[in-house]
Symmetry: C2
Subunit: 401 residues, 2 copies
């Protein structure tokens, strides 16, 4: 099974309407999303081309119409979409729309985020209209148990180590590792998952046919070859605009069961992704670092704010994102201390026993501040346990073994 | 002003009764504390000597009575207390009881903790009956603005660095740094405060005349010489029993406005002190460390539990323990980015401008996915700001400065 649709689906007009809309408008716009949810993609496309939409939306579409539907007809737009789909297919790129069985429906949660407060990253949070995918693994299955591992591009050796180790451990336990395909933490996370032979998904801010950055192309090929996926809501051929990275981040948060931020400076874009996870009600998990590290300032600020949880191990992450009761964190085991076998009273009495000067039970009781009765009852047990030796009714500490 | 009381107070029988009780019974016992609060120290001493108390308490006192009041009279016990006070005075050790003006009354909050669940560290949480002090600074004043900085003895270089830096910064801002006088984090905290010329208090689990460990005696002398204090609820001459460290920890938590745990392994005793702070309703603050460090496992577990807050800087600590509104954390300032001056729309339009290929406003709008009107309105501003250059109605990126 794969994400490729049969040839028939490529000529479904409703499906092609989604593709045409995704070519005409940058992803995440609430006005278009609301329209599509109200009247469907085909009617939304008709209204858009007829100019029967909000003036702002109409004007944004205008410059692209020249290329996609010069005469402004729906037939032109659908033909453009069909051709784009065929081209994508030749590139080995699959297409998913919300009409397809393999669509990851958890993305619909993004509807909750939409609000217009002026900044693009907060404004353009509507669910994607289309997803372009490279790789054989069915997307929805791969995301069923998935965690995003994100962080700064300018990562330290510590950060890359943590991202890689956590991704490795998650992949080993069957979790899909999702990240943004960037330098630093993202790349370390993908590589960790690959090293464990796991599935990893790189969610890009450009076309999946030309993954950015170029110098990571070897890694991108290994992701696809290793059963992972490259995914984008921009059509093949799209450039990685700066704003697109921020808009893209909401998909990383929405697609996964939880987000782990490994290393992030004060201004890291990873913090936006974490905030998306918080607002989606997904676990927003943060790995601490040395308090001396500028690269962890963003992590520590997030951990001081509401809505985040600290994670230091794979088990911590699995406890937070796993189904309740199924994936509880293994407790870290401290090395057993010999003194742990003692009761409180025994430990207190032992405090009154000296290494050299042998003491009577009464003297031990006086030193330890316990009842003579208790000292008398406890000292033989301490002798049995090998902590204390007794000669002529006087007690001193047993020599170390 | 100092903690020394006038000669007259040394013969006050009520005060001496506290001293006698502190010699007879290990600190923190709820049964004795309740009795003293009900009938006063003198009557409590009378009942104790007459055996008119709970059998358990009576038996605990028995082995020490031989040395303090062989015939079981109150006069003997008071005489013993008076002599001990004179001896302490000769050693330069001051004595405080709850009857004295300089007593730190926040210790009374410990009454809340008392409950008997079997473990000494949870059971013996009643307030101290006496405090012995070395150093000139009045104790109550020194504790008015104080923070405890605690952690493991087996600290790493990172942990000691953090303890020292945080204590230095707190001392610089006029906060008293309280700790337990042990190796590792404690010693680093005391030294940091000393380096800043600040007041620091070592709360010991043995007599203040013989501070333990011996190899830190140079540091203990510097604390006293530098205007700081050595403090203990055990009389001069007392040994540092292991249990006493745990019982002592409640005083560290109760005396201060908040507790900062710097580095603590899974089983560190510092975690008990932090738990005391949580149950007292004082800020329980924890410094994170590398997730790879065994020495921070206890810190990270506490940060994953309820009731703690992460702190990474002196400003974070002051924000948590300071009076609301007076000591807010300075926001860490990120280096200003040039792009920060742009509005969301400007940044989006800029994404559509290329370094070499000059584009028309319409082409920029198409690439960026914005309205032509918006591109036309925004591009001149980007030219004015120096991001873009314009030739013959076509725009390209300005060369880097």
């Amino acid at each position: 099974m794969s994400n490729v649709k049969g040839a028939g689906t490529n000529t479904d007009p409703d499906r092609l309407a989604f593709v045409a809309l995704a070519h005409l408008v940058e992803p995440g716009r609430r006005d278009l999303g609301v329209l599509v949810r109200q009247v469907g993609a085909t009617a939304a496309l008709e209204r858009l081309l007829a100019g029967e939409v909000d003036d702002n939306l109409r004007q944004i579409v205008e410059p692209r119409l020249v290329h996609i539907a010069p005469r402004g007809t729906v037939a032109e737009a659908l033909l453009h979409a069909a051709r784009a789909t065929v081209r994508a297919d030749r590139l080995g790129v699959d297409l998913l729309t919300p009409l397809d069985d393999g669509w990851p429906h958890q993305l619909r949660d993004l509807v909750r985020l939409s609000r217009d407060n002026g900044r693009i990253v907060d404004r353009d949070t509507d669910p994607p209209l289309c997803l372009w995918v490279r790789g054989a693994e069915p997307l929805a299955d791969a995301c069923d148990r998935s965690v995003s591992v994100i962080g700064a591009r300018a990562a330290t050796a510590y950060g890359e180590h943590m991202a890689s180790e956590l991704a490795y451990g998650l992949a080993q336990r069957g979790w899909t590792v999702v990240s943004g395909g960037a330098f630093g933490i993202d790349a370390a996370a993908h590589r960790g998952a690959l090293a464990a032979g796991g599935v990893t998904i790189a969610i890009l801010a450009c076309g999946v046919d030309r993954p950015y950055p170029l110098s990571l192309s070897g890694m991108f090929e290994r992701i696809v070859d290793g059963g992972g996926l490259l995914l984008s809501e921009w059509p093949p051929g799209s450039d990685p605009h700066r704003v697109r990275f921020l808009v893209r981040n909401r998909v990383i948060a929405a697609l996964t069961r939880g987000t782990v931020m490994v290393e992030a400076g004060k201004r890291s874009g990873a913090r936006f992704t974490l905030h998306r996870a918080i607002r989606l009600g997904r676990p927003a998990l943060v790995v601490p670092g040395p308090a001396t590290s500028e690269s962890s300032v963003g992590c520590h600020e997030e951990l001081r704010a509401e809505g985040t949880r600290l994670v230091a191990t794979v088990a911590d992450i699995v406890e937070e994102v796993g189904r309740i009761g199924l994936d509880l964190a293994d407790e870290v085991r401290a090395p057993e201390r010999t003194l742990d076998v003692l009761t409180g009273l025994q430990a207190q009495v032992l405090d009154g026993v000296r290494p050299r000067a042998a003491r009577t039970a009464e003297e031990v009781a006086a030193a330890a501040g316990v009842a003579i009765r208790d000292a008398r009852a406890t000292l033989p047990a301490l002798v049995d346990l090998g902590f204390v030796v007794c000669h002529d009714g006087r007690y001193r500490l047993a020599p170390a073994p």
